[in-house]
Symmetry: none
Subunit: 198 residues, 4 copies
Amino acid sequence: MAGATGVGAPSTSKGDRTRRRLLDAAAAEVARVGAAGASLSGIAAAAGLKTGSIYFHFASKDELIATMLEEGLRESLRLLDEALAAVADLDAGARLRAGVRAHLRALHELGDYAAVVLAQGAAEVPAAAAFPRLRRAHVGRWTELVADAQAAGVLAGGLDPRDARDLLFGAMNSALGRPGWSPEGTASALCRMLRLDG
Amino acid sequence: MAGATGVGAPSTSKGDRTRRRLLDAAAAEVARVGAAGASLSGIAAAAGLKTGSIYFHFASKDELIATMLEEGLRESLRLLDEALAAVADLDAGARLRAGVRAHLRALHELGDYAAVVLAQGAAEVPAAAAFPRLRRAHVGRWTELVADAQAAGVLAGGLDPRDARDLLFGAMNSALGRPGWSPEGTASALCRMLRLDG
Amino acid sequence: MAGATGVGAPSTSKGDRTRRRLLDAAAAEVARVGAAGASLSGIAAAAGLKTGSIYFHFASKDELIATMLEEGLRESLRLLDEALAAVADLDAGARLRAGVRAHLRALHELGDYAAVVLAQGAAEVPAAAAFPRLRRAHVGRWTELVADAQAAGVLAGGLDPRDARDLLFGAMNSALGRPGWSPEGTASALCRMLRLDG
Amino acid sequence: MAGATGVGAPSTSKGDRTRRRLLDAAAAEVARVGAAGASLSGIAAAAGLKTGSIYFHFASKDELIATMLEEGLRESLRLLDEALAAVADLDAGARLRAGVRAHLRALHELGDYAAVVLAQGAAEVPAAAAFPRLRRAHVGRWTELVADAQAAGVLAGGLDPRDARDLLFGAMNSALGRPGWSPEGTASALCRMLRLDG
DNA sequence: CATGAATGAGTGTTCATTCAT
DNA sequence: CATGAATGAACACTCATTCAT
């Protein structure tokens, strides 16, 4: 929610830095008014450029927004995987809790990128921006986490893990709507509601 | 998600019927591309009118969309209250389960109206469209339901009921994203995950 | 300038009265925002009608405005002739002074009609509204008055009476721009400037 | 009245030249049909542009027209001051005659700009376009000229100099309505009528 | 007589996009 | 790399006009 620094690694060239400013500005603008409502002139102004200059970095509005979405999703997946790797040896309940904490931390850190990728999904977004591979990977990770937790009995069984996963996802992403939320607080509240406490 | 039946009672005059067609078309369009992305020409075409004719029925795009949102929210509140009235004498857990079922049924019946009111909220919508009374009433109903369930011990205590309410809301509204979902199935899945089973 | 009752004789039928209300409203609206800026819906509303109803009384916006202009010009000519008839026997200076007083009184009485006909002229007005006969008659009367005064030596000679007439006209019509002006005061001021005092 | 040469000094950049073409076209269009009746598409076409391109140079129709009016008024004031400076040492009658000649020359040179600023005033023009400083300066200059002439006895006394000034103004501006008028001819005619002859 | 409802051409304005500089 | 300038298609909205009721 807060003004994020963005997503990328430290870039070297001036062109790369401008590109990053544009992606950040696009994320903020899209989070504020949606993909359809965001204007290239607004994004350019927020990045300290004139409108036409965007086209040196991106071929079209769609490409700019798709790139921004993809980077947000990729980073969000990276943070999740990092967190899960650290708890690979623990039991299913602990891994699920770690996933929840990681997702909420990602939501918080990624700022506008997360707001866009996770809250709005790809609804208003151009078809080209589906990048299904990343999306499948992300979703798959969560389906696995949930199914393992069900198998271990720490999460209610008897229901399709994909349904359970979506409900969990909806609950987590609702945090983006609240001002001043903290990842840790929301994670512990959610785990308590699901009786997931260690 | 599917083409909505709409919201209103059978109207008599020709003008009323056109107005309803416009509201239905607006709901569908906004659900598809967001308020900013929806175009009056698209809405008019879907309602079988020419663009300019909209202005005989609504003073502006904002008024059209705000009216649609308000009717959706009002109807959704009505359905919730109706369901709660029928279980007023039961215990807090049963009332919460009834609320969940009612909300999901409303989501399903209201079609595009709900997709808009509940998923996007009034985020992108003009300030005039906040209709805060309805929104407060709706939110208040849910805070009460959740707080009662916490007090009765059927829902995890120790956390702000408003946080719990938002998590619950997020989980329920996530159903709109899935194709072919059923209100009853989702309700039972959610209740099971929360260990709310009567 | 002030809200005028209009121009016409007492009418009998209800249709005639509606017609008059429309002409009055048109005069006011055109005086306020110009012929191009005046809208039929505004005029209709000011006359207590719905827009479409205008077409029962006038075939088009142009016809409505042209009729209003013509009535204003005709009445203004009538008032001038009336005043001149009363001083037909006096000398040229007295007749010119009477004309000035009559014109300024007409400007004052005719209200919005005069504002339109005399100030804006037929500049913005449709070609059909030129009604050249009336205009020629009006202009002709003034050329004569001025030429007679020049011949009699009470108005500076040595210049084309049509030029003198236009300068005089411009001076008189400038009164419409001043708030709270009186016909008598302006007439005496103008006569004094021209050294026309009896 | 005829196609105006415009107002500005020779500009260098391409944008400045386009801007000037737009202002000239706007002056012509507004002189022809009034501010409300003038259309941006007409103005753009007359300037050899497409409608939307206007917005690169002016933020709105109002700004375009207001700018045009202001430049016209400013230039007209400049021409007046220039002429008055050249006769600062002469008597009040000579100064008034110089003012009349200067005003009529300005009317003639400024073409459509003058037609608009002086004939229509800022009546139909948005509030933002009043530029009251310029207007006050222009009006003040004339009040002074007239009052001095009255005090010196060369113009009839016994009447409010502001009234005399407005009558004078109306007479001078009436020249705009006549085809083929010359500033010198009109000035001498007016001065003769007012017995101002040096 | 008058209205309710609709139309189509027009308005001012925005915006993604292009391209010479 | 970036800008200044322009375009054309879209947009929300207005308005004169029509016509069944």
